[in-house]
Symmetry: C2
Subunit: 401 residues, 2 copies
């Protein structure tokens, strides 16, 4: 654990160096929140606060628990970050005062969350106990508890682990039950009486899911069989159908070093770009009929395949051993136009709201890099101990984030 000790020391030092008189009792500066963001300090349970205009670290908030696989959503005013930690901690952090506003231990093992379209409800998806808990976004008081109850093989009362939670219009949330082979959609428009619509038998072991940017298609990846389960939420009678039958397979299966996140899919125009599982390829799919229309060779096993907000570029990072590289696909030419090496163990990327720049975390180099997306120049470099997820407040204005 030498590494961990070093990281703790580095965090303290960087705090003193980078922040100067800003921390402590100084009055918070009056400022807008549209250009703020956070970086997850995976190893030390710390949230690093960044300014995307000055491209700098502006503060840090420690004490958030186990932040491996942590994710973040934002209040609709952009002032508060809700951090979902792996250990079940849900922490509301004030980006202006740079302090924890509220914190609850809401589960034993948790895997992320979402915020309702109107910003009033925060929902967490849990492994233990399996289910979804919904909180008042202002007070973090629990307003709805939805256990993921199912009856495996005649044994009633079991709880399924929940994955793939996303927000939908109308204070609704969609999520998948890994152990119950189901997708549930819960309407919290009256949070005291949540109404859940259940889709059973959707395929074995949904392990993650996404919703398309228009909120129409909810797509779950299946661990237990090939293909994906898709729910068309705009249909008069929504039902689940199987798409991309060959998706998990390929002709010569390779060892899979890291299971790609489905949130890492890109939808650009009519096309979706997704990581081929275990293969050095990005798949191109027509979202009108959900058929594969092409494959683009890339430098390794893709993990995140993310579209620049305008859809003109798609950026790809990779699993071990190619995780020091990032490649850029031009969606018009359908080919790689750039390869960069931002640092070791690239874990995440986040675009600025209008896509002029991208922020990339390199965990093993303790570095976050900012690149311009037109000329691929490095615009800035921030020292952050073991950075993983990067999240900007502009997510508050977008669905499914």
């Amino acid at each position: 654990m030498k590494r961990r000790e070093w990281l703790a020391a580095a965090a303290t030092l960087s705090s003193v160096a980078a922040l100067g008189g800003l921390t402590g009792c100084a009055a918070p500066t009056l400022r807008g929140t549209g250009d703020l963001g956070v970086v997850i300090g995976r190893a030390n349970g710390t949230l690093y606060l960044v300014d995307t205009s000055s491209r700098s670290l502006i503060g840090e908030v420690p004490g958030l628990g186990d932040l491996s696989h942590a994710s973040v959503v934002f209040s609709r005013d952009g002032r508060f970050a809700y951090v979902f930690a792996r250990d079940g901690g849900l922490t509301m952090v004030d980006l202006l005062t740079q302090r924890i506003t509220r914190r609850v231990m809401q589960a034993g093992n948790s895997i992320g969350g979402a915020i309702s379209d109107d910003g009033t409800l925060v929902a967490a998806q849990n492994y233990t106990p399996g289910g979804v808990k919904v909180f008042d976004a202002r007070t973090l008081e629990i307003v709805a508890d939805i256990p993921a109850l199912y009856d495996p093989l005649g044994t009633p009362g079991k709880l399924s682990r929940v994955v793939g939670l996303v927000d939908l219009p109308g204070r609704r949330f969609a999520y998948s039950l890994f152990d119950a082979d189901a997708i549930w959609v819960t309407d919290c428009s009256d949070p005291k009486k949540p109404l859940t619509q259940k889709f059973n038998g959707i395929g074995r072991q949904p392990y993650d899911a996404l919703v398309t940017p228009d909120g129409r298609h909810y797509i779950a990846g299946l661990f237990g069989e090939d293909g994906l389960a898709m729910l068309d939420l705009w249909a008069d009678n929504p039902g689940v159908r199987r798409i991309l039958g060959g998706y998990g397979k390929g002709q010569e299966p390779l060892p899979v070093y890291k299971m790609p996140h489905l949130r890492g899919w890109a939808v650009a125009g009519r096309r979706a770009y997704l990581p081929a599982i275990g293969r050095h390829e990005v798949l191109v799919v027509d979202t009108d009929n959900w058929q594969e229309v092409g494959r683009i060779p890339v430098a390794g096993q893709p993990v995140f395949v993310m579209a620049r907000p305008d859809g003109r570029q798609v950026w790809v990072n990779f699993a071990v051993p190619d995780y020091h590289r990032v490649q850029v696909i031009d969606t018009q030419r359908q080919q790689i136009v750039q390869t960069i090496e931002p640092g070791k163990a690239v874990l995440h990327m986040e675009f600025t709201p209008r896509g002029d720049a991208v922020w990339i975390s390199s965990r093993d180099d303790d570095r976050v890099s900012v690149f311009d997306t037109a000329g691929f120049r490095r615009l800035a470099q921030l020292e952050v101990p073991a950075p993983s997820g990067i999240f900007f407040t502009s997510r508050a204005a977008r669905m499914g984030f």
Copy 2:
């Protein structure tokens, strides 16, 4: 001018009543800026500040000049509104301190503006003197002056009126020259040396334009002839082509009570919805080939045809005499699903960032109404003297706004 006097009195009263101790010397409250917005007080040169979470008026800033046809863009942190007034005034308003930060008279007659993708440059499009001026977004110092010079019939040195200015990725701006039948694209990545690419002979008298949400297609309406001019900015060799040949015409032309804004077009999924000029119809166009694929009958001559952010609904307002109504099109069923009457003289609509609500201004009832877009209930009503345009800070994160 009795109406104007009454409005001035009403403004003063509403200021006292609505704001209480908030105005004057009280210290500004620490708050996020993601849920702020402004409403143009057309008759009294005042900007009304609103909070879209509490759905309330939180302040007002007078002294902005002639705000007929005024438009607004926001700084990338969401703190400052840049107000382009008809009289050439460009005013930077601080939404947190509720005061004017800077103000310049930059032209004699101006018609709106844009902010660069990285938030560093603000550009204004002018009738007199015809051209575009570019300002430092922080200081409002002029950094580039681009006169719209052209040579009509061998008379060199004339300046064209400029319309349809939009931001493009890479610190670029596109705009149309009404008198010169041209579209210009200026790259301000080095603002001291702006580089302009000129497309001439694009069709007679471009009067307004829009850019699609992905920044790919710049489309100008033509006053002097039928059809529209379209520039594909992603093409290897961008050129202008004519689309929608019958657009301005129709078989039995009706009197046109109000020329629709092209910014009022909706692009939802693969389809664009646009006001038929002079007819009681909304046209539906396939954006893959820019062919008309349908017409939806509506209650009057459409002015703004705006998509809810998810594209599932399109909201339409109308010219005189039907300007007390708003209709809602369901884009799946391709038909009207709701008609509401928010008040007299509906001038503008603005959706909350994730589309759960819409704000509608009714000029002649001195009212802004907030409707929920799922059940069409009126959620709130704000008294604002002669309101016109409504603009929320979430525009800072979007292209072409």
